[in-house]
């Protein structure tokens, strides 16, 4: 399989590596393995993988250092594996340049969905394929025309709501921290006013979601940020 996408797994636990290897192989990915941070950074440079799965709790160095080191030379998507209850670590990892996270323990389905979303986004950026109409369930967003529809009905959004949706769509499938959203929508000087962001998110949900109390697409990651789920 010469065209198979390559994924680097940086994880010290051999059982998790084993199961990841099997799951990824079943999806036609080529899997490389590193058991510590040093080896991980070396392989990331040598192999130039299409995606990196990184465990934050490595024996030799902090996972954050690995992210920063890789980000110096590469925009490869990085998916962080971390435990629930460590929201602070997740935010730090995301702000350091990680693309997304998966909480341990996780099901294979969830992991594969995140991997696909991350790969798709990096392909979109690489191919410059922005501007087309974005679809997620009943929602259709035409970024160029600034038109949003739910089903057949056009939805009127305020400028801020639209900018918010635009940011979410651009990072679709991937978690985006509150800080990142605030900077993107309101500008760097408003990065602390998270409650405005939350209020606009609920308004957006009320306009776009069928059941805003059980959102299909505009999901909250408590303590971390938001995620636009496509399917």
């Amino acid at each position: 399989m010469p065209n198979a996408l390559e994924i680097l797994v940086i994880e010290d636990d051999s059982q998790i590596r084993r199961f990841l290897r099997a799951a990824l192989a079943a999806e036609q990915f080529r899997c490389h393995e590193a058991v510590n941070a040093a080896e991980g950074i070396a392989q990331a440079q040598a192999r130039q993988p299409d995606l990196i799965l990184l465990d934050l709790g490595l024996p030799d160095r902090d996972g954050l250092e690995v992210i920063r080191s890789i980000r110096q030379s590469s925009q490869v998507p990085i998916l962080v594996l971390s435990a629930r209850g460590q929201e602070k670590d997740k935010i730090e990892a995301l702000d350091a340049g990680a693309d997304d996270f998966v909480s341990k323990p996780f099901a294979v389905g969830e992991l594969l969905a995140r991997i696909r979303a991350a790969l798709r986004r990096s392909a979109t950026i690489r191919d410059g394929a922005e501007g087309a109409t974005f679809r997620a369930g009943m929602i259709a967003v035409d970024l160029a025309a600034r038109v949003v529809r739910v089903g057949d009905a056009e939805v009127h959004l305020t400028p801020i709501e639209f900018r918010l949706l635009e940011a979410l769509v651009r990072h679709a499938g991937k978690v985006i921290t509150q800080r990142q959203l605030l900077v993107e929508v309101w500008g760097p000087q408003h990065s602390e006013q998270a409650q405005y962001l939350r209020v606009y998110m609920t308004q957006l949900r009320r306009k776009l979601e069928t059941d805003p109390a059980r959102p299909r697409h505009l999901r909250t990651e408590p303590g971390v940020g938001y995620r636009f789920v496509i399917d």
Partner: protein, 906 residues
Amino acid sequence: MIESDRPNPEEVLARVQETVRRESRGRLKIFFGASPGVGKTFAMLEAARRERRAGVDVVVGVVETHGRAETEVLLEGLEILPRRSVAHRGITLQEFDIDAALARRPGILLVDELAHTNAPGSRHAKRWQDVLELIDAGISVYTTLNVQHLDSLNDQVAQITGVVVRETIPDSVLDQADDVELIDLPVEELRRRLEGGKVYIPDQAQRAMESFFRPGNLTALRELALRRTADCVDAQVRNYRRDNAIQSTWPVTERLMVSIGPSPFSAKLIRAARRIADRLKAEWIVAYVETPGQAAANPEIRMRVSAALRLAEQLGAETVTLTGARVAESLLAYARNRNVSRIVLGKRAGPLWRRLLAGSVFDELVAQSGDIEIIAISGEPNPVPPPRFRSTSRTAVNWAELAGAVAVVALVTAVSLPLRSVLDPVNLVMFYLLGVVAVALRSGRASALLASALSVAAFDFFCVPPHLTFAVSDYEYLVTFAVMLTVAVVIASLTIRIRLQAAHAAEREGRTHSLYRLTRELGGESQWMEVAKTASAIAQEVFGTKVILFFPEQQGKVSFRCRTSEDLPLPTSEEGIAQWVFDHGKKAGKGMDTLSGATALYLPLKGAQTTLGVLAIVPSESARLESPDQMHLLEIFASQTALALERTQAALSAQEAQVRAEAEQMRSSLLSAVSHDLRTPLATITGAASSLRIQRDQLDDATQTELLESIELEADRLSRLVNNLLEMTRIRSGGVTVRREWHPVEELIGAALIRLERVLGARPVHVEIPDGLMVSGDDVLLEQVVWNILENASKYTPPGSPAWIHARASGDLGDHGGVEIEIRDSGPGFAPGEEQQIWERFYRGKQASTAEASRGAGLGLAICRAIASAHGGRIEAATHPQGGAVIRLYLPNPEPPPQIPHAERA
């Protein structure tokens, strides 16, 4: 009458305790003799050698052979402790070394001459105190004693021999002895030994000793010794009879009371009373009645009385100080109260006029005693005049006061002169009496008497015709003078007495007040060191001198580092004294018999069970600790402080016990949670996985899928359980910090519902949240609360049953209102009373209809409650009238909710 044959159980208990105490103590054997030279030391050494042959570890602490060869021979082969050298006024004295003896711990220690007085600077003033400490430490002691050294016989011996023996020991020491062996020698034989130079007599005492060893004296001393030994044997018989419940043949209700005064005769009275009490087998009380005028006036009287009371205590009496204006009245009231059968007092003639005027105590007692017998002991004529007059005349001459008295009389005269023509001279007397009262109110007795006399003289000279002469025209005036003088003197003494009474009352009040303050302020303290600091501060105020409390640091070692005050006004070399006091529970230091060379006085802080520390007080001019009142007050201070300290300790250990019990319960619950709730899903996972691996070929596709599903489900459950356990541990250890921010309620509930999608399955959840409702809190924690409640509900309800979530703003939650979130399911609700219990850790619902429900660790709701209270809110459970459990979460707003700009709300 079976009951009377049985000893009182409390007495039996006391005796058992006494036996236990005695067993842990060493035995005391006293070789008792009538005079020097009878061979006590010799007998002691012989007995010691016998014991050594029997294999007992015998060591000589101190034995005086006085160079006699026959005694020295007996010392050969015995281990002898080295003496301690003490330098005193240029002479080096060889003293018994108690510390060496305590360190050596022999089976039997020989300590000669029990009545010996130790060199100044030794730990104890007397050797008998050394011996008692050794016994307490479990070392048996052999010692020697002559009859003339016994306190109670001291005066009799002096009477017989004419020699006053200064080295005395309390009779209680002899009474404590396990064995008393009388070493008896016929008088003639003793005389022969004396003539043969076999009795050691110090050179300087040669002449006194010659008269001492007269045959008559020796016979009398021998009789005393025999009688005293017989008393000891008698006491042993009595104890034996008591121990074996042989009915007592004498009434034990006899109780003797001795009334003493400040006279030196009291010592003799006390000794006589002790002999009477011994003969009657009676308890005895020594009482001193403090009359207001007397007590406050003279420190010398107090000293004398306290010395007498100490002697009485040493002789085994109970002592009491009574207060009252009339001696006889107070004595009789106390005697009746204590069921005293006889009162002993000294028969001493006071001045005739005084007896006529005030009546003697003796007469009053006899008149009012009723069925109490009065025993009068005749006193020798007093060699010294009554102390009161002597001391006042010597110390209290205050010239300013006397001048004041003269001035007052002069003033009265100046006022009287112009009135002489208007008023009858008899009325002028009243002015003079007023003057005397004025003097008596401010000055001492002497000034008042002077004012009385001067008044009579001035009245005569200026107011009685013929004026300006002492001559009297009318002899009736002589009656006026006499009555005037008497009235003036009586008024003066009564006024002074009232004044002193008031001063005395004030002093007592002050003492009571300071004790009241101590108890009150200590009552409010709950920390050990706070109690100690408060107590030492109050003591410092009351006694007017530095007071420090010391406590043991580890393993009962008192440390000067662990103390209540920053500065240390004591030499650190005295740490050993504090340690001694702590170990023995007895006071020592300056002014005491023990370790009197110290800078401070050390008192043990004795609680009900143990000694808790040591109180050190540095006596100064202002702190007159020698007075028995002050000492008594200090002791009460120490014991109150000790009790307060003990109380804090008890409270602390009770608290610790509770914490331990809680931790223990937590641990066992956790163990059961871990053992059951973790193992069950693990068993499923292991079983299903191994089955898939080994039997895959035999299993059809459907079964394989089923097994795989159960692995996934069980792993999920395990994950939730571990999360809850971790969360709970984090909350319990205080690791949770609430990151408060404003969140839309809808967003929190939405996140929880999404995460619960699989758990809730087909259960419809109806959500009703007002538009824009915000809550202040930590989103991760609050989402966890909603998640836990819903997850819990799913365990108790069948699939498909609906649930409701209802949120609203509430005005009742504090100043800025708050948010109320109600989650209701359609399950069975709670059993009565369960609404409170469900919040406890490891509680599992009784209504668990499904097997599912019994599979949690019972942590979820406990976590919810902890999170709610971390947010300053609360959480409540109830059963809905239409069925189903209702959980309400109340979260107050710490500030008004933020206003979102209207313009943006399209």
